[in-house]
Symmetry: C2
Subunit: 307 residues, 2 copies
């Protein structure tokens, strides 16, 4: 079994980029050809949507698998449609792994004790995709319930060569309403960060980084720079680049001297590039995959941190 | 459309109890007869487990539907088994609603903006069970991502006659590691509580309580009493009674003068009563439903708060 961080860094070095492609399917944004094809093969609305999501995401995987180390499906968009949606999520994850990509399931789970362990066992497959039904390499995790509730996730991830990313500083406009409250002279998220560093550094083994990562938004660059210092052994997942406003300069501090230790995510800017300039002028909606490829390559060129 | 709180209080008054039965199926705890029957009807391990979970939970529903106002399936135990598990969760929720019970889906979801809205639209059906594929009346929600991330959940709940329960003070031993951090002279969970009160009181309409509830553990009775005062317009969901150590005296302060405004949950102590004394001595494993009924009635008799 190979550790998550080793597999991740192998991928980052091979693809020579820390670009992470989010899979955020939304029915009203999909190319019309995908929806039409799904309508001809399914009956209920939920089945049409799920069929369309699966085809859309798998075709994105086909485009980006040679280009980037990992994809991050957003579980909520699949769950919204009930069982047909979650069936599609499972198939998309397995398809991406067969294509050689690492998969971070963005489901932000969190619960206590044996309940947290059930989530971990269900989602974090780690090195062997068949070790968990949902088959992900790593899972995003919410820390609100307490430090003890992270342990079951860490245990399963560590045992299976998987990883977790703990929400520390999210990218939304109101992130600070709770995360910035001052606790014992530190903003709350800074305290959470110190706990995450302690947990990850204790599990590094022969690697410099541990299996406990952190989500830190690109939309708060000063905090990102500070958090990289506070969590030297924690792999970062940086959302908020692109559509949410974060720039390459904003995320530069997330990386170590070797250009490793972080993934930068872009979802909408790649998934729906064909609807956005400059790609909308260059590609017809039927050529949406060319727009995905162009937007991915532009992001890769934008993130030049030496890997 | 009838508001969540009105439907909840109608149920509490009809059944004359605030007892909430959690549905926490675990394969190694189920009655052997249920597992054996599932094995004869299913092929893969996940399908056997899911079939057994569905039969177990639906038979608990049959026993408790005349006795209590609501059930609370724990999503994690179903998700652990992949799509067969989540299919079973959906069927259990719909079965419980057809039996006249309110259903609180305990999935502790949380995300930003349109992603939070996708979770809300998928889970919170409110008054019309068909308004969301998972079909729940209410959903538990994690506040870590910020106040703005609660809004999409509240909007969908309010529109559909559904509810949410925001995690404020959880029942686990390590709950305090983050929730008790002092922020501006208040423990963090007390600050979250004030936000939840503000959100719920603004949406009460003609009701005394709003659709924004809070999860407050019975295992911290002093905090529970204080939080009831801080959040007068917030319906409470109180876990931690029974197996986790909370007593009737511990939860008495959760109720208003009319005995309303709170639900007290018991999962393991009812689901697996046939494995525990005094029921183990009284009932054979094949009579596990009689143990469920006896444990539910004992809880109802224990929680005498005047409804």
């Amino acid at each position: 079994m190979t550790s998550y961080i080793r597999r991740l860094h192998d991928q980052i070095k091979t693809k020579r980029t820390p670009a992470l492609v989010g899979l955020d399917p939304r029915i009203d944004q999909l190319p019309a050809s995908i929806v039409k094809s799904a309508e001809s093969r399914s009956s209920t609305e939920a089945e049409v949507v799920a069929t369309a999501f699966e085809e859309f995401c798998c075709r994105i995987v086909d485009v980006v698998a040679p280009l980037v180390p990992a994809v991050k499906p957003q579980s909520a968009f699949f769950e919204e449609w009930g069982p047909p949606g979650t069936d599609a999520l499972q198939r998309v994850i397995h398809y991406a792994r067969r294509a050689g990509l690492l998969v971070i399931c963005d489901a932000k789970r969190g619960d206590i004790g044996s309940t947290a362990e059930a989530y971990a066992r269900g989602y974090i497959a780690g090195d062997d995709v068949n070790a968990a039904p949902w088959g992900a390499d790593a899972l995003t995790v919410n820390p609100y319930l307490g430090r003890d509730t992270l342990d079951p996730f860490i245990k399963v991830a560590h045992e299976r060569g998987g990883g977790i990313y703990v929400l520390v500083r999210t990218s939304n406009p109101g992130a600070g309403s709770f995360q910035d409250r001052i606790t014992d002279e530190l903003p709350h998220f800074q305290y959470v960060a110190r706990v995450v560093e302690e947990l990850s550094s204790s599990l590094c083994g022969d690697d410099y980084y541990g299996c406990v990562g952190a989500v830190v938004g690109a939309t708060y660059p000063a905090e990102l720079a500070e958090l990289r210092q506070v969590m030297p052994h924690v792999p970062l997942l940086v959302p908020g680049y692109g559509s949410q406003g974060g720039t390459a300069a904003d995320v530069a501090t997330a990386f170590d001297a070797d250009g490793l230790g972080a993934l930068v995510n872009n979802s909408r800017g790649i998934n729906f590039a064909f609807r956005q300039e400059p790609y909308r002028a260059q590609f017809s909606p039927d050529d949406w995959e060319l727009a995905v490829a162009a937007a991915t390559k532009k992001m890769i060129a934008d993130l030049t941190f030496g890997v």
